[in-house]
Symmetry: C2
Subunit: 141 residues, 2 copies
């Protein structure tokens, strides 16, 4: 996959002038059609030093925290459960949740859930925990 330009999914006006269809929105369903693997988030877009990522999750993840950042989950399809040490939240399609930095959590989905994640560039999916479930935080789609 090519290295993304600074604003890979939008174009500058000067670029636009040379291209018949230069401005394209990002369609979530179309992008989900490009990958089937679960637990491997794909970067869709960047806003300043934050990234928008799509993910398919099913089953249990590992307990982890992000010491330096909040993390936002927007559910596009299905239902996500985020377990905390003393409870959980259910997040369904059309809903979002922000996990505060430093809070231990574990995502879970009984059936596959499709998510939009928003977090700073370089945020690692397993946070402080590391291990075999860690994937690249910069795989663009």
């Amino acid at each position: 996959m090519n290295q993304p330009p600074e604003h890979p999914l939008s174009t500058t006006p000067s670029h636009a002038a040379h291209n018949a269809a230069p401005y394209r929105s990002i369609n979530f369903a179309e992008k989900f059609g490009l990958f089937q693997d679960q637990w491997r988030q794909k970067v869709l877009a960047q806003m300043n030093d934050y990234q928008f990522k799509l993910a398919r999750l099913q089953g249990d993840f590992i307990w982890h925290e992000h010491a330096e950042t909040d993390e936002t989950f927007v559910v596009l399809e299905g239902q996500l459960r985020i377990d905390f040490q003393d409870g959980h939240v259910l997040v369904s399609a059309g809903e979002m949740y922000v996990v505060p930095k430093g809070v231990m959590h574990k995502p879970f989905a009984e059936q596959e859930v499709k998510l939009l994640l928003i977090e700073p560039c370089g945020t690692v999916n397993t946070g402080n925990a590391g291990g075999s479930r860690t994937v690249s935080s910069d795989e663009w789609i």
Copy 2:
């Protein structure tokens, strides 16, 4: 409206222990039911120093740019057109677009469109343009 706490829509585990239903997702449809006014975005949630805002737009906005930040539009219902000086992009429900910083743009919607906006705290809706269409950038819902 009360001043929002640091993480108004999530709770810390210590808080959670004293509350029967402490963890609540944010439901977009429920929040849209709380306001009908167009062009007055409402803050839903905060992630670090970024905010998630809901907005209802219809008709024409004004030309403006944000000199210091990109701005993200996620369309939840309807269709948004963002005009640029040399073209436009159509963003429909299930799609998003990131307007790069410093790019002049003008949102437009023929029918009411419902949006999720993501941008840094303090971002003013009219950017550099100011004027009568400017609204508070920190009205929580």
